[in-house]
């Protein structure tokens, strides 16, 4: 099985939007379906793969997640779960959105799931005015329109200001 060990040690280079290069082991990169498809279709992993939508700070986070998940065996699910919940703890909204976009672009399902859950947890149980403030959503409804939208599904707004 010498060839597979060789493959495991194979590395590729990813380049962030701000020009920083990351040397990544192939088995770590395979956590991303996007990279997996690229590697499947084109074997010249010597080339640098540009990721023009992802900055270095975000890419470092993403690769940290990928490494942890690629190295852990499936029997350590509990450990991975606690890693996941620690991973996003105390992350500011800007970083979280960059991360969710990167996970979506690179097609890393597990990371996309936990980042989406984290954003959802911020929304739930909050009055919409507060949600607007947190996410800087501009309200373009007139008061009458807004009242009409609420009225359409009154059952969902009961108890909410």
């Amino acid at each position: 099985m010498a060839s597979s060990i060789e493959n495991n040690n194979e590395k590729l280079t990813l380049k962030s939007s701000d020009g920083e290069e990351f040397l990544v082991e192939k088995h770590v990169a395979l956590q991303s379906t996007l990279l997996q498809n690229m590697l499947d279709s084109d074997c010249s992993s010597a080339d640098v793969i540009p990721l023009p939508k992802i900055d270095a700070r975000t890419l470092a986070l993403v690769l940290g997640y990928c490494k942890k998940h690629a190295d852990a065996s499936s029997s350590k699910q509990g450990e991975l779960n606690s890693f996941d919940s620690e991973f996003l703890k105390d992350m500011d909204m800007g970083a979280l959105f960059n991360l969710v976009l990167a996970a979506n672009f690179m097609e890393i399902k597990g990371l996309l799931d936990i980042a989406a859950q984290k954003i959802a947890d911020t929304i739930k149980d909050k009055p919409h005015q507060e949600v607007r403030e947190i996410f800087h959503v501009e309200n373009d409804y007139t008061p009458e329109e807004e009242a009409a939208v609420r009225e359409e599904n009154r059952w969902a707004f009961e108890g909410f200001p």
């Binding site: 800007g94 959105f97 996309l112 989406a116 996410f135 609420r150 359409e152 599904n153 969902a156 009961e158």
Partner: protein, 411 residues
């Protein structure tokens, strides 16, 4: 990427927004419609709609009195595929209007359908269910299933769960055989009894039966790896003893790759009387875990004590097992055995003797005792010490009766 003061959430790609909204309750997802004009209709294309008790908890009293109307309102505003649809509201009475819901989702690509009813009697399933060709998971509680003539099954069904579903035995057998991809099957009979069930399911991996089944024949299940059969209801009461005794419970068939077998007393009796091992001596070679519940062989009184309020009528003590009767059996893959509620009768001890004598790589044998008497423990222990063990690594653990018997824990 943009700075932290711009509206990043509204500009997320559609699929990411959808993912976020699907992490929310339906109430919270609908409330996002008021954030801005862009958000108004995002929730209306979500591919899953779940009306369950969590949904109910968020409803005010006015809405609770008008659950059907709220469901209608949601469906009227929804557009696009509905892949997952759940109605499981303890407070909702089954009613013919449910037909319209099924009709609606049947035209919108439904894949996972869950319908649980707890009030108003069994719901007679709409025939439009049978036109849901793409269905992969069907989970029904308290429904009447009577497919129209010429029903060709669900060609993509992977998972079928029926609890208290009124369905004829032969209809159920043919439904199962008409679902070629079926991997998981769970059937709880409720108070009605099934007669003869014949299981032809080429792709089946997991099967669980709880309740009354006179006879189950696994005619062709080449991939079945986990099988669990209980005559107990989930509340731990014996379902109805009269019918059990009127027809002996028989489990037949071949299990070429079975890894986990979970049985209770009645099926053990059937085994001893010529059920699985004797008929098919070589079919348990992949068995890794054997779980036996309620093996009070010949101890009828103790079953009644364990399940108060139930009159138990059983045949007299079954034939004792002899090791030589099992001479053609090999349990070469058996690693772990757990036997619950052992009271130390001769047939029980003989059975344990067989397990120890025939299992080459047995690692763990856990025996949970029925009695709390030290003397009884002592007596059983004395017997156990004398049994020959084929596996040098076999470790026997004797446990006192301190744990509640929980069904299906290994799944």
């Amino acid at each position: 990427m943009s700075g932290s003061t711009s509206d990043m959430i509204s500009n997320l790609p559609c699929n990411v927004l959808e993912k976020i909204l699907m992490c929310l309750s339906l109430h919270a997802a609908v409330r996002t419609s008021v954030l801005s004009k862009k958000w108004r209709h995002i929730w209306t294309t979500l591919p899953q709609l779940v009306f369950d008790n969590t949904f109910y908890k968020e409803c005010t009293r006015a809405t609770r009195n008008n659950l059907m109307m709220t469901i209608y309102q949601v469906l009227l505003q929804h557009h696009g595929p509905i892949l997952k649809f759940t109605v499981s509201l303890t407070a909702l009475e089954s009613c013919p209007q449910i037909d319209q819901l099924i009709h609606f989702v049947s035209k919108n690509g439904i894949q996972e359908l869950t319908l649980h009813f707890h009030k108003g009697g069994p719901y007679k399933l709409s025939s439009s269910l049978c036109s849901c060709r793409g269905i992969t998971c069907l989970d029904l509680v308290s429904c009447v299933f009577k497919p129209p003539p010429g029903f060709k099954g669900f060609s993509r069904l992977l998972c079928l769960k029926l609890d208290k579903v009124v369905i004829a035995g032969d209809t159920l057998s043919s439904l199962i055989s008409c679902c070629p991809l079926l991997e998981r099957l769970t059937i709880e009979s409720g108070s009605t009894s099934f007669g003869y069930l014949e299981i032809v399911a080429l792709n089946l991996r997991f099967a669980q039966f709880v309740g009354l089944f006179s006879s189950v024949c696994f005619k062709s299940t080449p991939h079945l790896a986990k099988l669990s059969i209980h005559l107990l209801s989930s509340f731990g009461n014996l379902v109805s003893e009269k019918r059990v005794t009127s027809k002996p419970n028989m489990l037949t068939g071949t299990f070429p790759v079975i890894e986990l077998l979970e049985l209770d007393y009645y099926h053990l009796k059937a085994m001893a009387a010529g059920g699985i091992p004797n008929r098919h001596p070589n079919t348990l070679t992949h068995l890794k875990i054997l779980k036996l519940h309620l093996i009070c062989l010949g101890k009828v009184d103790e079953i009644s004590m364990a399940c108060p309020g139930v009159t138990v009528v059983l045949d007299p003590i079954p034939e004792p097992l002899e090791v030589q009767d099992w001479s053609d059996i090999s349990l070469n893959q058996l690693r772990e055995v757990e036997i619950h509620r052992v009271s130390g009768t001769r047939p029980e001890l003989d059975f344990i003797k067989v397990i120890l004598a025939k299992s080459r790589i047995l690692e763990r044998l856990v025996i949970k005792l029925e009695s709390k008497e030290v003397y009884e423990e002592w007596r059983i222990l004395k017997e156990l010490i004398r049994f020959k063990r084929l596996s040098p690594d076999a470790e026997i653990t004797l446990k006192s009766r301190d744990e509640v018997l929980r069904l299906g824990q290994s799944f």
